[in-house]
């Protein structure tokens, strides 16, 4: 008999060593851990660079960051309610309403975060707390196209073949399409005019993106020169040397708050509160607001100036004057809008 490359004993020994390392608890080395999602891309980068070390320092908690979009987080937790894979939710207003209504979110106790004292009362409620403001408007490539002024300009023939759009799958997509609809006689719950415009103008659309990460890549690749998106995305791309500028639409920019929530039945609730408290601290909020992250602070001690350009937003008071959408009214319509978008946009 020929000698096998690996004897049975060697194989078994090696195998059991491997199995043992896999079975060892991974958090054995740390005081504790917390599993938090972060939106893929800029958010994830910012949280990895700023929040992760801060949480380790202030609370001796190891943070595991899982890059997930808001609705993906809700789906993951929904699929495993009793033992959720996340301790924290990071959500935009629409998905937050979905998660709360579905009973996936734990009641939020502000008393467990000492840094809550630095926040306006409007930034937290019984279910969660805002950690950053986002502004939605129009992005364009200043080297290739004229500066657009407002939503109607997206349909200007001079931008034919240069505009990229995305549907109702994202917060900024939904908000933008609602504002477009308003320009043509629609309202928060009536997007028919937006659909009519899109349908007429479909042959001139450069690209229709199906997810927000693709929007960034497509812009970077020159596949589109005008699109609607978050200010923070523009700031990140600009930081990488992409020719991109942000415009506040003349009818007013949209603002919304991204919130953190404690997941119901979370394994590490105490650490989740410690994590949220750290995110709200003055130092972390200040660091997250610095370009290229540009996550607008919610902390009173961290003014928006000088990190934010004066022409985008001067102060928290100005931010409050931007357009805020009521997602409890939007959500019941969203499924129908998404299905309609599928059908009308398809070639």
């Amino acid at each position: 008999m020929s000698t096998p490359l690996l004897s049975r004993r060697a194989l078994l020994a090696g195998g059991s060593v491997l199995a043992t390392t896999m079975l060892l608890p991974r958090h054995a080395l740390a005081a504790g851990r917390v599993v938090t999602p972060a939106y893929p891309g800029p958010w994830e980068e910012a949280y990895r660079a700023v929040v992760l070390p801060a949480v380790k320092k202030t609370a001796d908690v190891d943070t595991v960051i899982t890059p997930l979009l808001a609705l993906d987080q809700v789906a993951k937790v929904k699929a495993s309610r009793a033992t959720p894979p996340l301790d924290i939710f990071m959500l935009d207003p629409g998905p937050a309403v979905v998660a709360i209504e579905d009973g996936l979110v734990d009641k939020f106790d502000p008393a467990r975060c000492k840094n809550i004292a630095n926040l306006q009362k409007t930034f937290y409620d019984d279910w969660g707390v805002a950690v950053a403001a986002q502004i939605v408007g129009i992005a364009y490539n200043p080297k290739k196209v004229d500066r657009p002024k407002g939503w109607k300009d997206l349909f200007d023939p001079k931008y034919n073949g240069k505009v990229g759009i995305s549907g109702f799958g994202t917060t900024f997509g939904t908000s933008s399409l609602i504002e477009i609809s308003k320009q043509y006689g629609g309202s928060l719950t009536n997007v028919d005019p937006a659909f009519e415009q899109l349908k007429k103008w479909l042959p001139n659309v450069a690209v229709i993106a199906q997810n927000p990460v693709a929007v960034n890549t497509l812009f970077q690749q020159g596949q589109m020169d005008v699109t609607y998106t978050n200010y923070q995305t523009v700031s990140t791309l600009k930081g990488r040397g992409v020719d991109i500028e942000f415009v506040k639409p003349d009818s007013g920019p949209i603002a919304f708050y991204t919130t953190l929530h404690v997941v119901k039945n979370a394994a590490n609730k105490d650490n989740a509160y410690k994590f949220i408290d750290t995110v709200l601290s003055t130092e972390v909020q200040a660091a997250l607001q610095k370009p290229p992250y540009s996550l607008l602070s919610v902390n009173k001690n961290v003014p928006l100036q000088p990190d934010m350009p004066v022409d985008i937003v001067k102060s928290h008071a100005e931010l409050a004057s931007f357009i805020h959408h009521d997602w409890t009214k939007i959500n019941p319509n969203r499924a129908a809008w998404i299905e309609r978008f599928n059908k009308e946009i398809r070639q």
Binding site: L71, D72, V74, A75, K78, V98, I165, S166, G167, G169, A206, V207, I208, A209, Q210, N211, A214, T217, L218, Q221, G222, Q223, R334, A335, I338, E339, N342, K343, I345, R346, Q347
Partner: protein, 297 residues
Amino acid sequence: MDRAVQQGDPAIAERRAVAPREREGLLTLPLALFFLLFFLAPLGLLAGISLRVTPQFAGWGPQQYAKFAGDAFNWSVLGQTLLLGVKTVVVTACIGVPLGLLFMEAPRRLQPALLFIIVLPLLTSVVVRTFAWIVILGREGLLNNVLMGLGVVTTPIRLLGTELGLVIALSQIEMPLMLLPLISVMSRLDPNLKDASAALGAGRWRTLFRVTLPLSLPGLVAGCLLVFASSVTAFVSQTIIGGGRMVLMPFYIWQQATTLFNWPFAATLSMVLLVSVLAVVTTLNALGRRTRALAAG
């Protein structure tokens, strides 16, 4: 000595002959259990969910299937998805067969290196491959720059977000799945057959079409099968290169499950896709068996 031992007790001999085979059968038990636990059970669960009436999981019934059948949009999504698979199979087969033949003609020393190049696409992450295709197919991408540089076109042609672009990208991404089974069958062909064919007076083309290609058919069929199943379900490539203008089944399922939280309908779509792909694969398999019989006869 006992006669029974001398001549061998037939019962014992039989037991000896059968026992190892039975024990060998036991060796498949772990895999069978694995499949049962991690494949069949979830599949059963999926089928169960598809029979729920509302997204809140109330009641049982075939309502979701009725909803699917009742909307022409759903049928056209399914049709376009399956057609995408067919188109990818045709392109990979048309490129794969000549490549396979070239590979067989290449010097033996070069073959391992060539094989490495063929497998290379499998060694890079699908996300990386897909984003690379964005760079190539984009408006200011490699392909358009070359075409414009050569003066073939004056304005960039739109490839991203079109079916053409998607088929091009998928053909490259899925090519190893076509080439590997094809080459493994081709390399097992008896080289004497070609000489025999030549000795009997057949030219090179005739030998190719009457001997080499028919004998390679089982490999081709296996390749088609793999490419079809893989390209029909290539979620990442489909969504990123195909974009929002193309709604295909994998994206549709994802949207229903994670954006709209309509799990019963998502499960229904999954079952429909599964059955459709299985139907095509079974047909191809039957075809494969016939070609193998042809090759053997």
